[in-house]
């Protein structure tokens, strides 16, 4: 009877602690040099609730004491998924990555082995039209210290704001960005949202002229230019720009997007 009671007590405690066998496992490396194998229970903002692998008690650790994490995850073919993303097959990227990273989405602010995958999923959501999911992912990822990922997250946040007409938020995001190319790109997007395609394209051209080898922002900017020409009613220029974007960035998702745009425009002509 006592034994049953103890099991019951343990069950209640486990339930109240939020622990379950489904909690993700990770190797947690601390800034003081220590390392733990843990279950990730909860992200409390400034601290994580975790449970050591061999322990039955939850504990918390301040986020700023964590150096990085190696999160255990189902296997996935990274190269294949990247290939699919490049081919603009966003739905299959989402199908493949969601089971891998969605359960640990709350922990993406801390350096870990799944951040790149999460960034890819965020972008796949955006290009697949899942703006809400893309935005939610961006808000989680933008606190990361990885500058490239942070920038990508801020970009998605701003773009989803623009897509929903929330220009104030987009302006605010623009203020958070220091990368000059990214700033120009987002400013051009903002001007486009403000129905100023001619101003926007001149901002975009400033990026093209000053950062011609920026492989992160150039493809996006050229695709944006194609759309801006379309906004101006210059279909031929839009087709020409889309065609060049498709050619210059062949084998990338933006190349594919440009191809789709060009084909649509050519059919409608």
């Amino acid at each position: 009877m006592k034994r049953i009671f103890l099991f019951w007590i343990a069950g209640v405690l486990l339930a109240s602690s939020g622990f379950s066998a489904e909690n993700p496992k990770a190797e947690l490396y601390k800034k003081d040099g220590g390392a733990w194998r843990v279950f990730l229970i909860k992200n409390g903002g400034d601290e994580f609730t975790i449970r050591l692998d061999k322990s039955k008690v939850n504990r918390t650790i301040p986020v700023d004491e964590i150096e990085r994490m190696n999160i255990q995850h189902p296997e996935y073919d990274e190269a294949l998924i990247q290939q699919r993303f490049n081919a603009a097959d966003y739905a299959s990227v989402i199908t493949a990555l969601e089971p891998v990273v969605a359960p640990v989405a709350d922990y993406m602010g801390v350096p870990n082995n799944l951040q790149d995958a999460f960034g890819l999923l965020m972008n796949a959501y955006y290009w697949n039209g899942d703006r809400a999911k893309a935005r939610a992912a961006a808000l989680k990822l933008k606190i990361t210290q990885d500058q490239a990922l942070k920038l990508s997250a801020l970009n998605i946040q701003a773009l989803t704001s623009l897509a929903t007409g929330n220009l104030t938020d987009a302006e605010a995001v623009l203020g958070e960005i220091s990368d000059p190319a990214a700033k120009l790109y987002l400013r051009a997007c903002l001007q486009q949202a403000n129905q100023q395609p001619e101003t926007a394209i001149q901002t975009a051209v400033e990026l093209i002229a000053n950062h011609p080898n920026d492989m992160l922002w150039m493809p996006l900017t050229e695709l944006l230019c194609a759309n801006l020409y379309l906004d101006m009613g210059r279909t031929n220029s839009a087709i020409a720009t889309a065609r060049q974007t498709e050619k210059f960035y062949a084998g990338t998702s933006i190349g594919k997007e440009a191809q789709a745009l060009r084909e649509t425009l050519e059919k409608s002509e």
Binding site: V205, N213, C225, R234, T241, F248
Partner: protein, 1045 residues
């Protein structure tokens, strides 16, 4: 002297020392040779090896050579093997001594004889040796042999030896019982095999290492280049690019591959290959950048624009490259311990931290590149890579600037592929960076060009273009800018704007440069064309004459000749125009305007009433130029001549031909309604209806419905079918009148009003009005209601009253059709209320730009601007009005106002010219003549010519006294008296006032009060009494006589 002796003595002593040294060397050499001869072969080898081990390679040479001499005839395998080994060593010693010819001989012999266990090494050394001595063909032969692998016999021997050695080793290990995983070290101790080595099996232990292959491929590539076979060099250099870690070597190889692909014109390969550089640091390599520049230019020249653009984007600006490489050079100096970190300039330190972290380049150890010779060099302690880099940076600094060229070509490419905004901003950058350079000026031209076409960014183009013209008046570029602006204005039918460029043209610094003069000629020609289009025929005539006079035999000689003649014709100066047109036909029998010239000459003959000649000329056009744009016009005018001759069937045939070949709606319309008029002569009403209906079917909504319905109505009237005609108009008005944009309805209203006045009885009119009132009350359409109210007002002659009513009633003119707006404009004019002038004209311009009812709106706005003193805007409006209405009767105000503005601006010649033009236009006979004559008087008076002014005033009150209720005559009397007073002819002035009071046309007008005041009460009373008594003055009699004339 002592000094000299010491010097000479010293020199002698030194010379003797050299001679003695050489002597002893020879003696020792001979002695040494003799000693070697006495030694056995084994002793010789032993001595040579000893010397080599001691680093005395030079001393070993006689021994090695002697051994080979002794062994040359031997067939003993051991001796042959030893000789080969000696030959290889001798080859390497010669290389160390930089005696490459001797080295090559030994190594080549080595590779040809057997055994040759070091065949690979020998071939590699031979390859570089042959390259160094410049024997490139042999180098290619040897290197390709080396790369194709070991000869079969050499490989078999090596494999046999290796197997034997392995077997021996296995036995040895077995004997010593060495456990698995252990090896014997150099001291015979058992140690564990280093981790990772035990399972590695080399795929081919006798093949070259990657390092060797890099040397061989680099050598082979360079040899091919030296032989001019750039294409063949692609494969070896590609190998280097793919395998080397040395960034300088990689950069060099990339440059060679790019050059090779350009030479091969393999742009597809080039395009696919180069973008890979995007992601590597090789793009910071100076030679790579230069190669990219070459490649981009080659692609550009080959019109492979899509491929060239990414390359131009990759080319880094010179300063960026130098900065990057400067950081590298400082790093190298640090690595070579040539400097301490604190000696690095501050501006490079932060960048170094970045690049040193995970260094992106490899440094070759310093020692490897040092030689005895280099130690004498001031740079001897610099790594070779650093020296190479310094040379490259220096070469880059000395290169002419290329950044602007890159930007310019990028802009050109964007422009070519129809990405105009990119093109504009890139051209702008080039111009901003180097505004005075040739490329900067060319870029400015292109910038303005793209802004205007295709972007149509008129505001920016004008702002920048005119600012440029304000600051520059010499050379080609200002002319080009003026040309672009003129072209844009011409394309958009903005003729008055073209004229704003004339002062700039006149301010251009004259030149004898033919290419610039060609621009000047073209610009003045375009000015003349603008004058012509603006109906400023006299100005145009002078402008074309200027082109002919100042630019004789120019590229526009033919055009100016034709248009000069055509302008004369437009001025109806047929006698002057005809010989010029005929001269054109003679000089340019195949000219661009040959058909129009023939046609216009026919028109001149027509105007000169030489109908037969005109007929012949039109026939030439019809027979010779069936595709000409004037062909339908020639048909129509010949049809008119046939018609005048009573040849109605032939006339109709020509009209039919004109309709069939019409290029424009106007040509079709003219022939259609002329044909209708011809049918009318024969009362062929059915044909009229047929031809008009066909016309309306052909053009649908674009047809001139008003004209069509007019003819249909008129025909029905002629057929006596008044009711049908009225009904046709009425139905059409009710049907289409709700639509604001149906301009034809408004013309029908005018026709129906006319019909009501002329053909209808009072009862019928009342019925019609009643029906119209019913339509008003039964319709919800404000547009239709307003139209019908305007129509009823016209029928009642109460337009002004309605206009006044509508001014108050309609705060918004959105639903007002042209007749309604016209009524409001007329009422406003009557009331001198200009408050809505701009609004009314704007509504017309935006909605009814082609409406005939727009005329009063133009005038209303024109007067408003004139009264406000805004002469520039008024002149623009006048130009617009004249472009539309030309010399139509009710457009005379525009020409008159132009003259009046000139008077206000004290431009008296222009005033005279403009006002005289009114008197030369027959359409403007009547009140406009009176006003023009009066204004000519004003012009002369303002110009200080009271006598001439008096003449004009006198002409007004003599010739035009009855016009405009005597207004002009009255003003002219007063003007005349003023002028006579100025001339001191007070008596004549007094007589003029007297004549004014006798003149029944003016003596009751307010102006007469001035005459009365001048003459005084007594004389005024006297004149009144004389008039009452039926008396007439001499002056009045004279006036009446002149009227009679």
């Amino acid at each position: 002297m002592t000094q000299n002796r010491r010097i000479y003595g010293g020199r002698g002593l030194r010379s003797n020392r050299v001679i003695w040294t050489l002597f002893f060397a020879l003696i020792f050499s001979l002695a040494g040779q003799a000693q070697i001869e006495k030694m056995s072969a084994d002793e010789i080898l032993k001595e040579a090896n000893l010397l080599l081990m001691e680093g005395q390679a030079v001393d070993a040479i006689p021994y090695l050579e002697n051994y080979l001499e002794r062994a040359k005839d031997s067939e003993d395998a051991r001796v042959l093997s030893m000789a080969q080994d000696v030959r290889f060593k001798l080859g390497t010693v010669y290389i160390q001594q930089k005696n490459l010819f001797a080295a090559n001989t030994q190594l080549e012999t080595y590779t040809q004889l057997r055994p040759a266990p070091k065949w690979n090494e020998a071939m590699k050394l031979l390859s570089t040796g042959l390259f160094e001595v410049g024997d490139f063909e042999a180098c290619v032969r040897v290197t390709t042999n080396a790369l194709s692998g070991l000869p079969a016999d050499v490989r078999a021997k090596l494999e046999g030896d290796a197997a034997e050695a392995a077997e021996e080793e296995a036995k040895r290990i077995e004997r010593k019982d060495i456990p698995y995983g252990y090896i014997e070290n150099e001291y015979g101790e058992l140690v564990k095999k280093p981790k990772g080595t035990e399972d590695v099996v080399d795929a081919d232990p006798f093949a070259y290492t990657v390092a060797d292959l890099l040397v061989l491929n680099m050598t082979l590539g360079n040899a091919y280049i030296e032989l001019g076979s750039d294409e063949l060099a692609l494969v070896p250099f590609t190998y280097v690019i793919e395998h080397t870690d040395n960034s300088i070597h990689k950069g060099y190889a990339i440059m060679q591959v790019v050059n090779g692909l350009i030479e091969k014109k393999d742009f597809e390969e080039l395009t696919q290959w180069i973008p890979k550089l995007y992601r590597t640091d090789a793009r910071y390599d100076i030679r790579v950048n230069m190669a990219l520049l070459n490649a981009a230019m080659a692609l550009f020249e080959a019109k492979e624009y899509d491929s060239a653009l990414p390359l131009y984007r990759m080319i880094l600006p010179r300063e960026e490259l130098i900065n990057y490489q400067s950081v590298r050079m400082w790093e190298m100096k640090l690595e070579a311990e040539m400097i301490t970190p604190d000696q690095v300039p501050v501006e490079y330190r932060s960048q170094m931290d970045e690049t040193l972290f995970g260094k992106k380049y490899s440094l070759v150890p310093v020692e490897e590149f040092w030689s005895e010779q280099e130690r004498d060099d001031p740079d001897y302690n610099k790594p070779k890579e650093l020296l190479e880099l310094e040379a490259l940076v220096e070469a880059l600094r000395n290169l002419p600037p290329y950044e602007q060229e890159v930007l310019y070509r990028s802009a050109y490419l964007y422009d070519d592929v129809d990405r105009p905004w990119e093109a504009v901003r890139f051209f702008d950058r080039v111009h901003q960076a180097a505004p005075e350079s040739l490329i900067g000026k060319r870029s400015f031209y292109e910038l303005i060009r793209v802004l205007l076409d295709p972007l149509e960014q008129r505001a920016e183009a004008e702002e920048r273009g005119f600012a440029y013209l304000d600051a520059n008046n010499a050379g080609m570029t200002p002319r080009q800018i003026a040309y672009l602006l003129t072209g844009f204005y011409q394309k958009h039918d903005l003729m008055p704007d073209i004229k704003t460029l004339l002062p700039y043209l006149e301010g251009f610094e004259p030149t004898s440069d033919p290419s610039i003069r060609k621009y000047d000629c073209e610009l003045y020609y375009m000015q003349a064309v603008a004058d012509l289009v603006m109906l400023e025929y006299k100005v145009a005539l002078a402008a074309f004459q200027k082109v002919l006079d100042e630019f004789p035999q120019s590229h526009q000689q033919e055009g100016a000749t034709y248009w000069h003649a055509a302008t004369l014709m437009f001025l109806q100066e047929y006698e002057a125009a005809l010989p010029e047109l005929e001269a054109y036909v003679k000089v340019y029998p195949n000219g661009e305007w040959i058909a129009p010239a023939l046609f216009q000459s026919g028109t001149c003959l027509f105007g000169l009433e030489q109908y037969t000649n005109a007929f012949d000329r039109f026939t030439v056009v019809i027979d010779t130029y069936p595709d000409a744009k004037v062909f339908p016009d020639a048909c129509s005018l010949r049809g008119d001549i046939y018609g005048s001759w009573g040849e109605l069937d032939l006339a109709v045939a020509d009209y039919r031909q004109a309709i069939a070949s019409a290029h424009t709606h106007a040509q079709d319309k003219y022939a259609t309604f002329q044909m209708a008029a011809t049918f009318e002569l024969e009362n062929k009403f059915d044909q009229i209806l047929q031809v008009v209906n066909d016309y309306m079917d052909r053009h649908g909504d674009d047809a001139d419905i008003a004209e069509g319905i007019f003819w249909i109505g008129k025909t029905k009237v002629n057929q006596g079918l008044i009711d049908e005609a009225v009904q046709a108009y009425f139905d059409a008005i009710v049907q289409y009148g709700v639509d604001l944009e149906q301009g034809g309805v408004d013309s029908m209203i005018a026709e129906l009003v006319n019909l009501a006045r002329v053909k209808m009885t009072a009862t019928q009119r009342d019925q019609l009005k009643s029906d119209l009132f019913s339509v008003i009350s039964g319709s919800d359409s404000e547009t239709l209601q307003l139209r019908i109210r305007a129509m009823i007002a016209q029928m009642n002659g109460t337009e002004i009253e309605l206009g006044k009513q509508l001014i108050a009633e309609l705060p918004d003119l959105g639903n007002a059709a042209p007749p309604v707006l016209s009524v409001i404009a007329k009422a406003s004019f009557e009331l001198a209320d200009y408050s809505r002038a701009e609004e009314i004209l704007d509504v017309f311009s935006e909605k009814f730009a082609e409406s005939e009812f727009m005329r009063p709106a133009f005038r209303l706005r024109g007067v408003e601007l004139f009264l406000a003193g805004d002469y520039d805007e008024a002149l623009k409006l006048i130009a617009d009005a004249q472009a539309r209405y030309g010399t139509d009767y009710d457009a005379a105000w525009a020409q008159l106002m132009k003259g009046e503005i000139c008077i206000k601006q004290a431009r008296f010649d222009a005033a005279r010219s403009n006002l005289t033009a009114v008197l030369n236009e027959r359409n403007w006979r009547g009140v406009s003549y009176a006003e023009a004559t009066y204004l000519l008087g004003q012009a002369e008076e303002a110009a200080g010519n009271p006598l001439k002014a008096h003449g004009w005033y006198q002409r007004v009150y003599v010739q035009y006294k009855g016009y405009d209720q005597g207004k002009w005559a009255a003003d002219a009397y007063l003007g005349s008296a003023r002028c006579l007073n100025q001339l001191g002819l007070t008596n004549d002035a007094r007589n003029t006032w007297r004549a004014m009071l006798f003149d029944k046309y003016v003596n009751t007008l307010p102006q007469a009060d001035q005459a009365k005041q001048a003459l005084g009460e007594e004389e005024t009373l006297e004149i009144s009494q004389m008039i009452a008594a039926g008396m007439k003055t001499n002056i009045a009699v004279t006036v009446e006589q002149k009227e009679g004339e």
